[in-house]
Amino acid sequence: MAGGNGHEHTKWVMVIDLDKCNGCNACVTACAMENNVAFTGEEENAYGRGMHWLRVIRYWEGEWPNVRVRYMPMMCQQCSNAPCEPVCPVFATLHSEAEELNIQVYNRCIGTRYCANNCPYIARTFNWFDYEWPEPLNFHLNPDVTVRRRGIMEKCTFCIQRINQGEEQAAAEGREVRDGEIQPACAQACPTEAIVFGNWQDPNSKVRQLAQSQRGFKYLHELGTEPKVIYLASEKHDF
C-alpha cells in the first residue's frame, strides 16, 4: 500500500438493501449536489431528460387498495464486463485498471450516445443542452468534478473524486484506507443506511459481510455484465 499505489488491492463495491429503502430520494439529491448534476427543469424532466445519475425505480404491486410499492435505487452498476465500454469509438468510457471502475471521461466524449443505447441498466444521461446554474446556485458546484457541457454523456462514477481523495489522504498519512472512510454521496445521505460502500478485497469490510447475505442478488446478472452493485432483498423481485 505504501507509495499510494496499492490499488491492486481494492475493488469498490456497493450494497443496497432494498428492504431498508423507503424511496425518500435523499440519495438522488445528494448525488446531484456532489456531482454537479444539472437541473433540467420540470418540463424537460417530464419529457425524459432528467440528468439523475441515480434514480429510484418505483413499481406498484397488487390492486387497489391492497397495493404495495417497491423501490429500487438504480445507477451505473460499474460492470466488470461493461457493455458500454467497447462501443465507444473514442475511449471516452473505459475501464480504469487502477480503480477497476467504469469511468467516463467527459472531455473525450464526442456524444455518439452509443454507450447509453447499449446499457441494459439505462444508467446514462446525456447533456441535451448547456445547462446553467443561476446565481447563487453556482456556488454549490463541486470544484473537484467537471461541469459538463452540451453533447456529453455522463453517469454515476461511484464518486471517484471522493475515492481518489480518500486514497490520497491515506497515502499522505502512510496508512491503508479504513473501511467506511470513503463514502459516495448517496451512501452518506441515506437515512436508513440502505446504501453501503466499501472495499470487497478487505475480508472484514461491511460490504463483504453484507454481500454474503442470502438476500443478495445482482441485477440482470444473467447478461454477464458482472455488476459491482449488490442488491439485498428478502423477497425475490421480478423486476
Binding site: G3, S96, E99, D144, T146, T157, N164, E168, A171, A172
Partner: protein, 179 residues
C-alpha cells in the same frame, strides 16, 4: 504574354505564394501573441524575490504542499515584509494601495488548468517534484509567463509515463486527472 499553359502555371504559383505568405504572417502573429506575458495588476518581480532574496516558493505559495491549489499570497503576507519598506517602485505603491483599501490583489493566474482537469499540488510536491519542473525557472523571470498553452495533456503524460514506470497504470489512468 505566354502560352495558355504558362499563364496557368503563373496563376497557380501566385496563389500558392500568397497562401504561403499569409500562413507565415498568421503563424508569426500567433507566435508573437503566445509569447506575451498577461498583464497583471502590478508588476511583481519574481527575479528579485527568488534569486536575489532567496525566498522559497512555498514561502508565498504555501498551500502547494498541503492541497490542490498552490494559492496566491494574501496582501497581508506581502505586507509582512513590505510594511518595513518605503514604497519606491510603481508596483510597491500599488501594493500599498490595495493594502490600505483592504482589497485582495486581482492576480491573473498563468498556470491554470481547464475545468475538466483535476490537478492537485500535494501529491506532486510530496513526491519531491521541484516547482521548476512544471513552472519553469520562475526565479529568472521578472513577470511569470502564461503556461496554460504549454501545459497540455501530452506534456503531463511525458512525466507520468517516464518518472515512475512502476506506477504507470495508476498514473496513466484517465480518472486520475479527469473526473
Amino acid at each position: 504574354m505566354g502560352t495558355p499553359r504558362s499563364q496557368w502555371k503563373k496563376a497557380v504559383l501566385t496563389v500558392v505564394a500568397l497562401v504561403a505568405l499569409g500562413g507565415l504572417v498568421l503563424g508569426a502573429t500567433w507566435l508573437y501573441a503566445s509569447q506575451q506575458v498577461p498583464p497583471q495588476p502590478l508588476e511583481f518581480n519574481h527575479q528579485v524575490h527568488v534569486q536575489q532574496l532567496g525566498l522559497s516558493c512555498l514561502f508565498c505559495h504555501s498551500n502547494a504542499a498541503r492541497g490542490k491549489s498552490a494559492g496566491l499570497p494574501t496582501t497581508n503576507r506581502c505586507m509582512g515584509c513590505h510594511v518595513q519598506l518605503e514604497p519606491k517602485t510603481e508596483a510597491e505603491k500599488i501594493l500599498r494601495e490595495y493594502f490600505e483599501k483592504e482589497e485582495p490583489i486581482p492576480w491573473v493566474p498563468v498556470a491554470i488548468q481547464p475545468d475538466f482537469v483535476y490537478f492537485s499540488h500535494q501529491p506532486h510536491v510530496s513526491k519531491g517534484i521541484a516547482c521548476e519542473t512544471c513552472h519553469g525557472e520562475v526565479g529568472q523571470y521578472t513577470i511569470a509567463p502564461d503556461l496554460s498553452k504549454k501545459q497540455n495533456m501530452g506534456w503531463c503524460l511525458s512525466c507520468h509515463k517516464n518518472l515512475a514506470p512502476e506506477h504507470f497504470t495508476r498514473l496513466s489512468s484517465c480518472e486520475t486527472c479527469h473526473k
